[in-house]
């Protein structure tokens, strides 16, 4: 555990991407199997020990610590695993220095236990580790390392460690499972590349650049709507189906309704959306989709209340023919022929926008206020389907954000590295009776300097405390940008913003000149 704990610790303190890559690559080269494979699984979020959840860690903490001291400590530190690791009373005589547990020993022990016995087993392991080791153990056991390393970055480190192509690593990835012995054997040149054929493996997505200052000629580019869901890739091979998110994560378990309905061989690219009743079966806003995200299991009620469907953009593999090298127009024609054979309730095709000119397209884009539209995509008609972001082929042209001047009402400390800073703000607008009602919450959009200023404002203008929440003097006007705003029954103001962020701090503006709820209602889509 010592080398793994050190890796985790150094990743936490290292900011630069290249240094992180170098740290992980060094670890993977120097650590034997199967430890390195388990560590890699932990970093890519694919280690799922069913026996240890945060409730087992909490149970262990309750056994050992005074509840009030634990709660105060947890509030200060902002992370349960770290709090437990730091508070842990080391056994008399200290931690045995020679006795280093291997990562795989820990995994084997935890995998073999039951949920009921896990807290006791974990406690025994804690007694054999120092503070850093305990932290690494708890993070490993409960999943979610939070060391600023995405699955993609970890895979890039694998590529770097063994001089492989990262897209090749990505392609074989889902055909392998922890602790990835075949992957390292291939990396070290002992065996050939594992062959993913016959398994529903992931192909890297083609991505778009923001349009910004560029103007494109619609003779060369096709325009289609950019839908506000999540990009997915559906892979069907010999009756098995997988759904992958943009980062290559397997999200099949969250969307069984889609996987079951995809009865075809091929690989398609599309936007996962949820159907909304109010719009006559059209795509609902992102709010509705959020109900379905990040779930490992889905109840029948969830499936019924928030039925998912996929709006298809592109086709990568048709049957067993790889069509990625063909121009977009050709792939589009094949996609149009492919879609009708699919379940019409679950799959449709993203319509092209019939714009003659760039200016006409701009007008159409301006007028679009459909809740599920995020903007416009522009795709070069002769573009092949290429992994990653290649200049000049695809552009995304997002809708301009909406704005409102709101008044800060409450603030809360952030989590993680912001655990000592008031960085989460609830803000409101005025009713007809000159009452402030909350309309949203934001925790981004400001610079570090502005954050310092806002934090100071909160501390100096607190009028009330409700647990971790501080109510502040209603004097700070924040200009909030958001992608769209919707009716909501959950909030007293009846409104919910999509992706609100602080765009400016309006210290120049008196609070009573902030916007009214009625103004926001007129922006509802």
């Amino acid at each position: 555990m010592r080398a793994f704990a050190e890796l985790i610790d150094r990743l936490i303190y290292t900011r630069s991407r290249n240094s992180k890559l170098a740290l992980i690559a060094d670890y993977l080269r120097q650590t034997p199997d199967p430890d390195r494979g388990w560590a890699l699984a932990a970093l890519t979020g694919e280690l799922d020990l069913k026996t240890v959840k945060s409730s087992q860690i909490k149970a262990m903490a309750d056994e050992r610590f005074d509840p009030l001291l634990f709660r105060m400590s947890r509030d200060y530190v902002g992370d349960t695993a770290e709090t437990v690791a730091l508070m842990w009373q080391e056994p008399v005589g200290g931690v045995p220095a020679e006795d280093d547990l291997s990562v795989s020993t820990v995994i084997d022990l935890l995998a073999d236990t039951s949920r009921a016995k896990a807290p006791q087993l974990l406690a025994g392991l804690m007694d054999r580790l120092d503070a850093n080791g305990r932290y690494a153990l708890l993070k490993l056991a409960s999943g979610g390392m939070r060391v600023g390393v995405s699955a993609r970055l970890a895979k890039t480190a694998v590529a770097q460690a063994f001089e492989l192509n990262v897209d090749d690593v990505e392609e074989v990835w889902h055909a392998l499972s922890p602790p990835y012995a075949e992957l390292f054997a291939w990396g070290e040149g002992k065996t050939a590349r594992p062959d993913p054929e016959g398994t529903p493996y992931f192909r890297p997505f083609m991505l778009a650049h923001p349009l910004e200052e560029t103007r494109v000629d619609l003779a060369d580019y096709a325009a289609e709507w950019k839908w506000d869901g999540i990009r997915v890739q559906i892979v069907g091979t010999h009756g098995s189906v997988r759904l992958y998110s943009r980062g290559g994560d397997d999200i099949t378990a969250s969307f069984p309704d889609i996987a079951e309905a995809f009865a075809a061989d091929g690989v398609v690219d599309g936007e996962l959306l949820v159907r909304g009743d109010v719009q006559g079966g059209e795509a609902a806003s992102f709010n509705a989709l959020q109900q379905r995200l990040g779930r490992k299991t889905v109840t029948a009620k969830m499936r019924k209340d928030f039925p998912a469907f996929v709006r298809l953009y592109d086709i990568l593999i048709e049957g067993d023919q790889d069509v990625r090298a063909l121009p977009w127009t050709e792939r589009r024609a094949r996609l149009e022929a492919f879609v009708p054979a699919l379940d019409q309730g679950r799959f449709d095709i993203s319509q092209l926008i019939p714009a003659e000119s760039y200016d006409q397209l701009a007008t159409i884009r301006e007028g679009a206020r459909d809740a599920a539209i995020e903007g416009v995509m522009l795709k070069r008609k002769d573009s092949p389907y290429i992994a990653g972001r290649k200049t000049g082929l695809w552009y995304k042209w997002k809708r301009d954000p909406l704005n409102a001047d709101c008044v800060m009402m409450y603030a809360q400390r952030g989590s993680g590295k912001r655990s000592s800073v008031y960085s989460d703000y609830t803000f409101g607008c005025w009713t007809e009776d000159d009452e402030l009602l909350p309309v949203g919450k934001a925790y981004s959009g400001f610079t570090d300097e502005e954050l310092k200023m806002l934090d100071r404002f909160v501390r100096q203008n607190t009028v009330n405390r409700f647990g971790p929440v501080r109510e502040v003097e209603k004097t700070m006007v924040l200009e909030v940008a958001f992608d769209s705003i919707h009716d909501s029954k959950r909030h007293k103001s009846g409104l919910a913003m999509r992706f609100p962020r602080i765009s400016r701090i309006r210290t120049d503006k008196p609070a009573d000149e902030a916007d009214r709820i009625a103004t926001l209602k007129r922006m509802v889509t």
């Binding site: 290292t14 005074d66 009030l68 105060m72 709090t83 730091l86 590295k417």
Partner: protein, 333 residues
């Protein structure tokens, strides 16, 4: 007479009524008893000041002459009037730091100021002073704060230096106390190379040496060429770590010596690559150990995370209360 009848905690300091004097007042007072030289305890503008000779020198350096200084060597008693006898005892926090013992009408009250229990090469160790009422700090008053062995932290610093011959190690350390302690600990660990200083640390280091603390070879960063600082250890106040000033250094590894470095996210907030848990305050175990060692009738907690320490006392049937003090910013560790 019970302490609450003659000692009044105020947000701006502790008032000792019979002798009309304030302990560590945050606003100018005619008569001030000062525990140590940190700015949140020692302010300028007082009429008369009672402090250890070292603390008076430190205040002189920071605020110039002005206040009438009454030197209080450790262990000597002075009659402050009104039946109050005061004496100063080592607190082990920084050079000159003291706990103040007040005796009045058969009652003994100790104000710890800031303190620590572990060894420090730059100041005499904390002394347990028996008393009826212990007025203690609680900067690191949560059980997550357990400072590791100082030697291990210094070893980490030396390892980082050895592993990065083309970079320098930039250590953030407060100008009074921490900077000299880090230098002293490095010397004790056998590091005798020149240590380079940010200009803001120079005067205090020089004063320490005048007061008899040997810090070994020191030089200013300003006098060096960038390339010559490769493989060197550089000390700067924490504010300079991410400041433009650090651009004159060869690709520094940013370190910070502070008890707060125990919590990962605190270290990350400071952009620290190499956190060094070296603290001049008592950690949780030292705070609780001290309460047990002193075994007072009552515990008053001045500043820091006082709730947890008060709760710990109440679990052990000890009478404890939290005092609401302002202006004690505990970031100086």
């Amino acid at each position: 007479m019970p302490a609450e009848n003659w000692i009044e905690p105020h947000p701006t300091g502790i008032y000792v009524k019979p002798c009309d004097a304030w302990i560590d007042p945050s606003t100018p007072r005619p008569r001030a008893l000062v525990t140590h030289g940190h700015a949140d305890h020692a302010r300028g503008g007082h009429g008369a000041v009672w402090a250890t000779p070292e603390t008076l020198s430190i205040m002189g350096l920071r605020y110039g002459v002005g206040a009438e200084g009454n030197a209080m060597p450790y262990g000597e008693e002075v009659d402050l009037g009104g039946g109050v006898i005061a004496s100063y005892h080592p607190a082990g926090h920084v050079l000159g730091s003291a706990q103040i013992l007040l005796q009045h009408d058969g009652e003994r009250v100790v104000v710890t100021g800031d303190y620590k229990r572990r060894a420090d090469p730059t100041c005499p160790p904390f002394e347990v002073v028996p008393c009826d009422v212990l007025i203690t700090e609680a900067t690191f008053g949560l059980p997550v704060f357990k400072h590791p062995d100082t030697a291990e932290e210094v070893a980490k610093l030396l390892e980082a230096r050895a592993a990065n011959p083309d970079r320098c190690i930039l250590v953030g350390a407060y100008a009074l106390g921490k900077a000299q302690r880090v230098i002293g600990e490095l010397r004790d660990a056998g590091y005798h190379e020149t240590i380079y200083l940010h200009g803001a640390l120079e005067k205090m280091c020089r004063l320490y040496e005048e007061l008899g603390v040997d810090l070994g070879p020191l030089a200013l960063v300003a006098d060096q060429e960038k390339a010559d600082l490769k493989g060197c250890i550089v000390l700067a106040p924490p504010g300079a770590l991410n400041d433009r000033w650090s651009r004159r250094l060869p690709d520094p590894v940013t370190a910070m010596a502070s008890g707060w470095m125990r919590v990962r996210q605190r270290a990350r907030q400071r952009n620290v690559e190499l956190p060094l848990v070296i603290s001049d305050h008592a950690d949780w175990d030292e705070l609780t150990q001290t309460i047990e060692d002193v075994a007072p009738r009552e515990i008053w907690v001045t500043h820091g995370r006082e709730d947890a320490l008060v709760h710990w006392c109440s679990m052990r049937q000890m009478k404890a209360r939290a005092l609401a003090m302002v202006g004690r910013e505990d970031e100086d560790d």
